[in-house]
Amino acid sequence: MSTEKILSSDGLPLEVSLKKAERKNKMKAMMLVAPLFLFILITYLMPIGDMLFRSVDDRMITKMLPNTFTSLEKWNGKNLPEEQVYAALYEDLSYLKKTKTYGKIIARLNYEKGGFSSLIKKTVRKLGKFEEGNYKSQFIETHKRWGDINYFIALRNVAPNWSYVKYLKGVDLKLDQDGNIIQQPEDRRIYKTLWLRTLKVAFWVTVFCFILAYPISHLLATLPMKYSNLLMICVLLPFWTSLLVRTSSWMVLLQQQGPINDFIVMLGLAANDNRPELMYNVIGTFVAMTQILLPFMVLPLYSVMKTISPSLMRAGKSLGGTPFVAFRKIYFPLTVPGIGAGSLLVFILAIGYYITPALVGGASGSLISNTIAYHMKSSLDWAFASALGAMLLAGVLVIYWLYNKLVGIDNIKLG
């Protein structure tokens, strides 16, 4: 028995013809997405890649001391290096002196080992007086640190093109001279505290948002339309209002002579001349961020609660459950998807918050984003800013992935 192939009108087998049409449609859809995708790829994704690249890029110093690093490759690392290393160093430093670019290596070397700054500066200054040959003794004569093996170990450590020291620094670790990972000295451990504080603030803001959003979302979902629409404005107006406006209103409220402090004094909880500090610390960050992020919790919760039929609760009660039991066993489990969506969204937004902590957080309420901004704009350690950014990004992407798995990106609700 032979199966006859079904042909389409142009004589091709139907299967081929269908596949062709399918491919054409697929191409059409992809052509529509292509402009935005390419735009985002070039102006956004690749720059983020560039940022990740910068965080490990250590080629600047490698390029500036090429001869020194080549000659150090043969060095055993146990005794002081041979004459040829000093000769290579002389060659590199002379070139850097001529082009007046030695300033750039000082910061990098000094970061690796303190004391390089004066060492390089003094040596470069005296470089003109050097005579040819016998560089080793001339170097040690110029500065006794050139006779210290530790400085050469540090030099060798900065030789590779890539380095992950910025990442280590971001979690209060560093490399010792033998290349082991060790903790920073006690007084320089600041980043672990900062990470923990960022996580803590994001976590508690999420919890507060959940506690505050749950009852009002329930009210909004159960009230008749004409009332709930009116109340919804209370949620949507802050949502549409400028972040800076909302933050400035918190600055007004929380300042020492502000209404909240007036109220506290009026209630007799604090003396007039001893008003509590509500702003420029972590309290300000908590309060302001909770209010600002609350709509992002209400909207997903509301849209889930809206779909829960009230008859389910009634059924639970009629079967003998107290209102509390009916709520716990029926209503609450049904709202879990909304809780998940809202919590992940609030957490993801809170963890990277910058403006509000910078304005009301002060020093003790500032988060990781503020430190990234500081290193981008003030200390100009872009590599370190990039490394911190990369670590934050990794965290955010994990939550984003989780969100995508649990909620689905296309289910993000906006108003």
Partner: protein, 284 residues
């Protein structure tokens, strides 16, 4: 909500506690915004409620800070407002066109790897602004667009597109594709079909996405901070600078104007949402 007469006392108490809690939360949400309004009319230079204001003495109120905002000699608000509007205008157009076209593709059932593409295109909304700002700054500096309007507009297009993609794909989920097929079978070309059939139907979604893109751009400070030079300062940048120095009544006046603007945008967005739901036949 009136309670049925048979409800127990326990339940009644619980119910009114619940309503009180809700009331407090709504107050917490909305009240901070209204603190700003009276303070912007303060006759004094300080940011607190003077005795005269509490007694509603007309002399305690004035429009001087609004005058200062508009005519004040060393105030940059005029320039900042002009820049903000120019940037937001072009960023909105760019984001709306790119986002709508991409959303059309993403909503097609022939689109492969839909979720993955969607995740990538939405990412500028999810990634912390400080990271986006850093990355975009590196890029713009490399191509020579730092401290230019073009650079800032491009950056705001990046940040605005996710909102357009989300709102337009949401509108397209209930879209009846047989109407476009009907148009095609009647001899309409794809562009004509889009302009005459698809666009009018998805327009509410497109406009509400555009509003989001506009607000995003108009309110954006972190990325602009990295990119802007002195001459392309914007309203958020000026507010940011002002707030870091000290709270001034002029900032309260600016904030009041922004609140009025966002109220207007909210009303427009809500009306559009309802219209869109009606068009798609969703009755809530």
């Amino acid at each position: 909500m009136a309670l049925p007469t048979y409800t127990s006392w326990n339940y009644r108490i619980w119910h009114y506690t619940y309503l009180t809690i809700c009331g407090l939360v709504f107050f917490f949400l909305i009240a901070p915004l209204f603190v700003i309004l009276p303070l912007s009319f303060n006759a004094e230079q300080y940011i607190h409620f003077s005795a005269g204001m509490i007694a509603l003495d007309p002399d305690a109120f004035s429009l001087r800070w609004y005058e200062d905002m508009i005519w004040g000699t060393k105030n940059p608000w005029g320039l900042a407002a002009k820049n903000s509007i120019i940037i937001a205008f072009f960023a909105t157009i760019g984001a709306t066109i790119l986002g709508t076209v991409a959303a059309l593709g993403l909503s097609s059932r022939h689109m492969p790897h839909k979720a993955a593409f969607m995740a990538v295109l939405i990412s500028p909304m999810i990634v912390p602004l400080i990271i986006s700002g850093t990355a975009i700054f590196f890029f713009m500096a490399k191509v020579g667009l730092a401290a230019t309007f073009t650079g800032i507009i491009l950056a705001h297009i990046i940040l605005g597109t996710p909102f357009v993609v989300i709102t337009v794909t949401a509108t397209l989920t209930g879209f009846d594709h047989s109407v476009t097929r009907a148009a095609t079978s009647l001899g309409s070309n794809p562009v004509n079909t889009f302009m005459k059939i698809t666009l009018p139907l998805i327009l509410p979604g497109v406009i509400s996405g555009a509003l989001f893109a506009f607000v995003t751009s108009f309110d954006e400070v972190v990325v602009v901070m990295f990119l802007a030079g002195l001459e392309n300062t914007t309203i958020p940048i000026q507010m940011w600078v002002g707030l870091r120095e000290q709270l001034s009544p002029t900032i309260m006046a600016v904030a009041t104007c922004l609140i009025i603007m966002s109220t207007l945008i909210l009303v427009t967005a809500e009306l559009l949402r309802r219209r869109s739901e009606r068009l798609r036949g969703i009755n809530r």
